[in-house]
Amino acid sequence: MTPPWAAALWRLVPRVPAQIGGGLALLSFIIWALTGAGSPWFLWTWLAVWLALALVVAWRWSRLAPPGPRRSVETLGAFAVVLSINAIFNWAIGGAGYFWPIWVILGFGIAFSVYLVYLRNRGADLRSRGERELTERVETLTETRRGALDVQAAELRRIERDLHDGAQARLVALSMQLGRAEEGLADRPEIAALVRQARVEATAANAELRDLARGIAPPVLTDRGLAAAVEALGSRAPVPVTVDAQIGRRPAPVIESAAYFVVAESLTNVAKHAPNSRAGVTIRLDRDELDVVVADDGPGGADAAAGSGLDGLRRRVAALDGDLSISSPRGEGTRIEVKLPCGS
């Protein structure tokens, strides 16, 4: 298999001059052989042919780069490589004594480096158009992804509000009316029992909606922010939880939600896998990063790959360009740390 760069170079070799050069090289070799095969002067012909072709290839190669600083760098680089290799060949044919080509190579190397530094200082953009477009595309995607997530977070809060003001309110009104109907049926106990059953069902439906709403956008998170919501999670957890949250300002809703669900899921895992341990939640917000740590003193040995809950969290965090790390050495507890960028 030819490497792609070799194939690309081969395509740059001019066909006719290459055939003529090849012919000349062969001819000089034959003449040399017929004239008694003395000192190998034919190598100088080969060298000349190689150099001519290599310079053409170098020139064509540098023309592939887009005009501008990038092309000048590639031109200089290509000629430096060709002339350095030429110097080595020259040295080899000329008897391979003192390795003088080192000065040629060093000279080109220094010139090349100085030129690069000079370009950098001028703030020249060495990226190709493709690279530039790709970078711009990545920037656009990052921005729109974040936008989409922000919209999603706002949407979820709207759904929670709609549930609260819509279906849940109607179910409450229904319970209330059923309760009043039940009272009016004191003389028909069997029907009153049916009505009571209906009210119990309505209450159960409302409870399910409440759990759903809490899973979508916990009201206390919306109302009071991350610290209060995490305190509430801590007091709900079946294991003792110490919460230390220092959050000066409120991060974007999407960041708050992600951090909240990280803590919720982690505490659920602690309760499930380390029911006899204590857990600590630490949250710090600095200028551009929210740092969340949930640690327990349980048995450790948590398998990051096994828990699909953790996997979901990891994806959620990754979508925000955050980072989730788990350390769970056996016998030393489990520590989950999440870093979420939230530049203001």
Partner: protein
């Protein structure tokens, strides 16, 4: 008994007013937001304010903030919070100030009319009515590393403790557990003994003592 209501949803407000009027509870004024609540409480000096947590203009915890403020201005006012969700942090804020009664119930409890009216009367009279979900979170099983004082309670005592934290009287607890009031009294004195709580004169102080204890264990 004179009651004011702060609820922005017409359907629920009207339903609540109809229900209370059917049971000879006088609804003297109604409001749709926190500002309105403070205004009608100031104007009518009611025994009880029934308040929704989520009110305009913020639609967050406006009702809690207004209720805390109303209790601050009128320490005798009883406040009964109705909400679609329970948050212990809001209960704690409410309990922190004022002398009057405090209640925090899920809205759907209104459907159980006798229990709801009982809660309304209790809070108006200076008592407590906490939703069993709030209490459950406070009393809930805590499998701590070392034994907590709650672990020394028998299952029956734990039940009694929960009902006490909800704000029920001994008689109501006896009814709920189908035992004699005397048996409840015995459980109560056992609980106070085991938890090392001072015996309290009235039901409300008793609830406060129990809640303070539960919150303290919670924080530890």
């Amino acid at each position: 008994m004179r009651v004011v209501i702060a609820e922005d949803q017409l359907l629920l407000r009207e339903g609540l007013i109809a229900l209370l009027r059917e049971h000879e509870v006088e609804v003297v004024a109604q409001a749709e937001d926190g500002e309105g609540l403070l205004r009608i409480v100031g104007a009518h000096k009611p025994d009880l304010a029934i308040v929704d947590v989520r009110l305009p203009p913020t639609f967050t915890d406006e009702g809690i903030r207004a209720a805390v403020e109303a209790r601050h201005r009128h320490p005798d006012l009883g406040v009964l919070i109705l909400s679609q969700y329970v948050e212990p942090v809001y209960t704690a804020e409410l309990l922190a100030g004022g002398e009057g009664g405090v209640g925090y119930l899920l809205k759907e409890r209104v459907g159980d009319i006798p229990a709801f009216l009982d809660a309304v009367r209790r809070v108006a009279a200076g008592g407590t009515a906490l939703d069993r979900e709030v209490v459950a979170e406070l009393v809930g099983e805590r499998r701590g590393v070392e034994e907590g004082p709650l672990d020394s309670l028998s299952p029956r005592e734990r039940e009694v403790l929960s009902l006490m934290a909800e704000g029920r009287t001994n008689n109501a607890i006896a009814e709920a557990l189908v035992v004699t009031p005397g048996a409840v009294e015995k459980h109560v004195s056992n609980i106070f003994g085991k938890l090392n709580l001072p015996a309290a004169a009235d039901d409300h102080r008793r609830v406060l003592a129990v809640l303070a204890f539960l919150r303290a264990t919670d924080a530890a």
